[in-house]
């Protein structure tokens, strides 16, 4: 019998500092996650945590990790050549087939950019995949900005609104992402669009409400949830909301379902 929670050792290929507290680890592996899926990262003697895949390529995946927990704090002492232990990928990612040929609106708060990054990279690399991309990315302050180079590069192929909750920065706006939802030109999208929202729970709640206020139908909104998980395979119970397991049916949910997922 196979053990669905058996971690596999994988070599760290590179470590890049993204912000004051966030680092991106590129890890050697043959797995090919869907955009928006997550994996369980673990370190013997320390523990295990679910982390979304923030980019992927031939023979590697990337994880963008914030130094906030017991597991992630130890990951930060790792260097290229060291081992991380992986299992997965798990869950359901972004429904790319449904997004094909649509105008895409992507709204992120902080590291919420990580679970949509691999999808945005695909949109940038394959210009015909979707009609257009509008990216509204917000961060708490300048020190919290992640994927700086990509954000700058995306200003050309995408319509972008970058904002800081606090502080001034050239080329950036100031304010919460919810304040900029009304600037998204939904009327020009010919009712052929989808909106993706990822960030901390309050940000997703208020952005969802703001989208509805702007007349976006609830069946065109998608969200990705983050929850505590010990197993990621529907056993440990930590991520359950009603009859839904975020690890199995999520982390990506249509808003028609997400609006009922009250913890």
């Amino acid at each position: 019998m196979t053990n669905p929670v058996q971690p596999v050792p994988c070599k760290i290929l590179s470590v890049v500092q993204e912000s004051e507290t966030e680092w991106t680890f590129r890890v050697e592996t043959d797995v090919r996650p869907q955009c928006g899926q997550f994996m369980q990262l673990s370190i013997p003697m320390v523990g295990e945590a679910p982390i979304s895949v923030s980019a992927q390529g031939d023979g590697w995946v990337e994880f963008t990790i914030r130094s906030v927990g017991k597991v992630t704090n130890v990951i930060f002492q790792k260097e290229p050549g060291d081992l991380l232990f992986l299992r997965g990928p798990y869950g359901k990612g972004w429904p790319l087939e449904q997004f094909r040929d649509k105008h895409m609106v992507v709204i992120t708060g902080g590291t919420g950019l990580a679970p949509v990054r691999s999808m945005l990279r695909r949109f940038a690399a394959e210009p015909g995949l979707v009609r257009s991309v509008t990216l509204v990315a917000g961060f708490k302050d300048e020190g919290g900005i992640v994927f700086r180079q990509e954000l700058e590069a995306w200003r050309t192929p995408f319509r972008t609104i970058y904002t800081l909750d606090k502080g001034e920065k050239e080329g950036w706006r100031t304010g919460l992402v919810t304040e900029f939802v009304k600037e998204i030109p939904f009327t020009t999208f010919d009712r052929n669009y989808a909106a993706v929202v990822v960030g901390p729970p309050p940000m997703m709640k208020f952005t969802g409400l703001e989208l509805l206020k702007q007349g976006v139908p609830d069946d065109r909104i998608w969200m990705s949830f983050e929850r505590k998980m010990s197993c990621a395979v529907g056993k440990c119970g930590h991520c359950r909301i009603d009859e839904t397991y975020v690890c199995l049916e999520g982390p990506v949910f249509p808003y028609t379902q997400a609006r009922y997922l009250v913890d």
């Binding site: 019998m1 003697m45 523990g47 017991k70 505590k228 395979v233």
Partner: protein, 345 residues
């Protein structure tokens, strides 16, 4: 086949069975109850028939044998993970119908949910043959008849004490039959409880709008002042499956250790806290709502065949704040009636 087994022969049979089986049954631990001069009844290995408690419900469920409170799932040496191997000796597990039916629930989650089969559950469950203990009627916290868990045919053998230190037994399992060759045949099939002192009607929640309103209903707030979030109810629950993993380093050698699976309780604050500090369900009322709705709505909404609660009543018996699950469900039903009335349903 039915048998009448005298006390002396019963112990001889147990001794023979122990050569091939580990035998677990509810056992009395004198003076270990939670009040002075009270006993605790919990599952443990037994060697003699007199050790098995037939006439009282155990304080803790049979699930402790199959899904222990903690177990090693991996051993680490430097940077290697090795799954724990587990034992292979089969187990005879004495249990009442509620505890046997509880394994249908645990199996749905551990062995089926999401298409993933949990190695640690399945390898243990496959070792177990149930010995059905005919239930003499439970106590005033029981409501198995309401939950449809008062009957079962998942047993290799069924027993009833004969009142003289021996047993009446029905042996169905071919592998067990040879052990009973010395026992005289007797007509015996186990009887099942058909009604309890207490009855529970699970709430009828017809749609998501009603569920949302029920989640926001003030009925849960009463528990903010009653429930102390100790988790005694989930530990005593026949069906609760939740766990957390914890890595442990051995003594003075930081290169060697194990990853443990440890029972977790949704009633204890911090159950769903994330590394970044975000918490969910911050009040005792929120957590009670989460547990009660799982037992009497959410599980069935997912798996369809039965409710998660098997009506063993142990949560009521163990609660230090005297919260009765029966009374709680009645309050929830009143709240649902109020919501449905307002919605014109």
């Amino acid at each position: 086949m039915g048998f009448r087994i005298e006390a002396g022969l019963a112990d001889e049979i147990l001794r023979e069975l122990k050569k091939s089986y580990q035998i677990y049954a509810p056992k009395r631990f004198p003076g270990q109850g939670r009040f002075a001069e009270t006993d605790l009844i919990r599952y443990d290995e037994v060697s003699a028939l007199s050790e098995i408690v037939f006439d009282e419900k155990s304080d803790y469920p049979a699930k402790e044998v199959i899904t222990p409170i903690q177990q090693a799932i991996f051993y680490f040496t430097e940077e290697e993970y090795r799954a724990s191997r587990g034992k292979s000796k089969p187990i005879l597990l004495f249990a009442r119908p509620c505890d046997i039916n509880a394994q249908r629930v645990q199996a749905k989650i551990y062995a089926g949910n999401g298409g993933y089969e949990d190695l640690y559950y399945t390898r243990m469950r496959e070792r177990v043959k149930f010995v059905l203990m005919e239930c003499p009627g439970g106590d005033d916290t029981c409501f198995c008849a309401s939950m449809g868990t008062n009957r079962t045919d998942d047993y290799g053998m069924a027993v009833r004490p004969d009142g003289a230190g021996g047993l009446l037994a029905e042996v169905r399992d071919e592998e067990l039959l040879p052990y009973f060759s010395q026992a005289p045949a007797a007509d015996f099939t186990p009887a099942f409880v058909t009604e309890n002192e207490t009855a529970v009607t699970p709430p009828e929640i017809p749609d998501k709008e009603t569920l949302l309103k029920l989640k926001a209903h003030p009925v849960w707030q009463e528990f903010n002042g009653r429930c102390i979030s100790c988790g005694a109810c989930t530990l005593a629950c026949s069906t609760c499956t939740c766990f957390t993993t914890r890595d442990v380093v051995y003594g003075d050698n930081p290169e060697v250790g194990e990853r443990r699976r440890v029972s977790a309780s949704c009633q204890v604050e911090g159950f769903s806290d994330m590394a970044g500090g975000h918490s969910f369900r911050p009040t005792a009322g929120d957590r009670m709502r989460y547990k009660i709705l799982h037992k009497f709505h959410d599980y069935k909404a997912r798996f369809g065949d039965m409710h998660m609660c098997v009506g063993c009543g142990r949560c009521t018996s163990r609660c230090p704040a005297y919260i009765s699950v029966t009374a709680t469900v009645a309050k929830v039903n009143a709240a649902v009636a109020e919501i449905r009335g307002a919605l014109g349903q």
